[in-house]
């Protein structure tokens, strides 16, 4: 049974992405953004009977804070992909009748004390519970955050396919152009290719301006059935196809091809269900913790041939005004990566905003068919 077109996103809300939200709690941010999304959908709190969030906060605590008694709830995680995956789960819940109106929300109020030194106590730095990181990586001097893995992947992509530093930089430059029109984004200054190339190596060959900044923020959407969607105030954003996140690897060196992403599995499932091909896609919102990841995922989704994403960026205007817009709100690299999975969820929220025609100055010209990767 396909769930093509059976569910739709009918409302959304996004809190501005900031470095810190001061003393405010994560639950407080989630409650605010949930209220915003429910109101935006033209619903009342008691209409919500499904709640999906990420494991960082227990959904029962959130339901209690919001006074919602759900028929279906899940505090799930597939890490950064949790936001996009919540839409898959919500659409399945709605299509199957398990829930009627599902609230999906992610976010984090980052503690001011979240320093690199504290993070160093984690597995990557050799601390915390023993696991494969503390035994097989940490003794060799792991890089801070996820920079090490993506630096190694980028080096290999450059080696295998000849992708150039300038081509990676173009991705960051186009996204910054988009971010300048995002009132909720973090960065307000334009950048050039030279700015990216002259930014320091966080670890070679990865430049600082190709990486996300961990931030605070929250976002939420409401998913309901196609029938109910038509009676609600916003233009429905129909969910035409979904492909599940799939990978068996928690460390990059276990992946047989480190320049191939799980999108090779998820995109064909989503596109086949949607009855479209990658060539039909008008614009894309793709998870971008680093330029290299967004670029490899676009290849694996079939937006261009494998290994040709560098040439694609070089020859394509991917700004909101261009021929194939990508990450029209600036993405995580230029609008910021709010924690708790809200960074990845911003791609879903921006796709919704664009398809509803509510993206203001950065509205894309052809905005009906968007491919989102979380």
């Amino acid at each position: 049974m396909s769930i093509r077109g059976k569910a739709a996103i009918v409302g959304f809300s996004e809190l501005p992405t900031l470095r810190q939200y001061g003393e405010r709690s994560t639950t407080g941010l989630l409650a605010e953004v949930a209220r915003g999304a429910i109101r935006d959908a033209g619903m009342r709190k008691d209409d919500i009977d499904g709640v999906i969030n990420r494991e960082d906060v227990n959904s029962l605590e959130l339901c209690e804070a919001l006074g919602i008694t759900p028929r279906y709830t899940s505090s799930m995680t597939v890490h950064g992909a949790s936001g996009a995956a919540s839409i898959l789960t919500a659409a399945m819940a709605v299509a199957s009748g398990v829930a009627s109106n599902v609230l999906c929300m992610l976010g984090q109020s980052r503690p001011a004390s979240a320093t690199r030194l504290e993070a160093g106590a984690g597995a990557r730095g050799g601390g915390g519970p023993a696991n494969i990181l503390t035994e097989w990586e940490a003794p060799f001097g792991t890089v801070v955050a996820a920079n090490g893995g993506y630096g190694m992947i980028k080096a290999r992509h450059m080696h295998e396919f000849g992708t150039t530093q300038e081509q990676f930089a173009k991705c960051a430059v186009d996204q910054r152009f988009n971010a300048l029109k995002n009132e909720n984004g973090l960065w307000k200054d334009p950048i050039t290719i030279d700015d990216v190339l002259n930014s320091r190596f966080v670890n070679d060959p990865l430049h600082l301006l190709e990486c996300v900044m961990p931030c605070s923020g929250a976002n939420a959407v409401i998913v309901t059935s196609a029938e109910r969607a038509r009676a609600l105030p916003n233009p429905p954003v129909y969910i035409l196809g979904v492909g599940g996140p799939a990978t068996s690897h928690s460390v990059v060196w276990q992946n047989e091809s480190i320049t191939t992403t799980p999108v090779v599995q998820s995109a064909p499932v989503a596109l086949q269900m949607a009855e479209y091909s990658a060539r039909d896609i008008e614009f894309a919102q793709f998870y971008d913790c680093y330029t290299i990841l967004a670029m490899m995922c676009l290849e694996d989704a079939g937006i261009c041939a494998k290994g040709e994403i560098g040439a694609f960026y070089e020859s394509t205007d991917t700004t909101y005004a261009g021929e194939f817009p990508i990450n029209t709100d600036g993405g995580q690299i230029s609008a910021g990566q709010p924690g708790g999975g809200a960074g990845g969820f911003r791609h879903v929220v921006e796709a919704t905003r664009q398809v509803m025609g509510r993206a203001g100055e950065r509205q894309v010209k052809k905005g009906d068919l968007c491919l989102v990767n979380g």
Partner: protein, 139 residues
């Protein structure tokens, strides 16, 4: 000898992985190989990830391979490595078909580091108890 402040290997399952570290102390590189499908795998775990057979043995490895990829570290997660930057954090493809994380030594960083360069294992006794395998350009 100054106290070694960097993280030593911390084992989730010492019964499973101790033979590797004992061999390293003898300056030998050993790898798990499956009896059922004859393939090597890395890291050591209960069952072969290729065929799920629990029957595998430790075998002596060639110690040779290629640099699959690398990154030059300038900002280590653990500050105990701060004095070593820049250093090469390496993903090594061993001739037995498995990959492991290590460091490159005896090579100019970053200019001497090339993906696919041929490597051989070398061992550093970092404490009296622990020896780490590292890789240098093959002779």
């Amino acid at each position: 000898m100054a106290e070694y402040e960097k993280p030593l290997p911390r084992q989730a399952d010492p019964a499973l992985t101790q033979p590797f570290w004992d061999a390293a102390k003898r300056h030998e590189l050993i790898l798990p190989r499956c009896f059922q499908c004859s393939r090597h795998f890395w890291y050591p775990r209960q069952a072969c990830p290729h065929c799920l057979s629990p029957d595998w043995e430790w075998t002596k490895a060639s110690g040779r391979g290629r640099l699959h990829t690398y990154t030059i570290v300038r900002q280590p997660q653990n500050p105990a490595f701060n004095d070593d930057v820049p250093y090469a954090y390496a993903m090594v493809q061993l001739n037995e078909g498995v990959r492991m994380i290590s460091n490159l030594v005896d090579v100019e960083v970053p200019d001497g580091v090339r993906i696919d360069m041929e490597l051989e294992v070398t061992f550093e006794d970092v404490t009296e108890e622990w020896t780490l395998p590292r890789f240098r350009p093959a002779s």
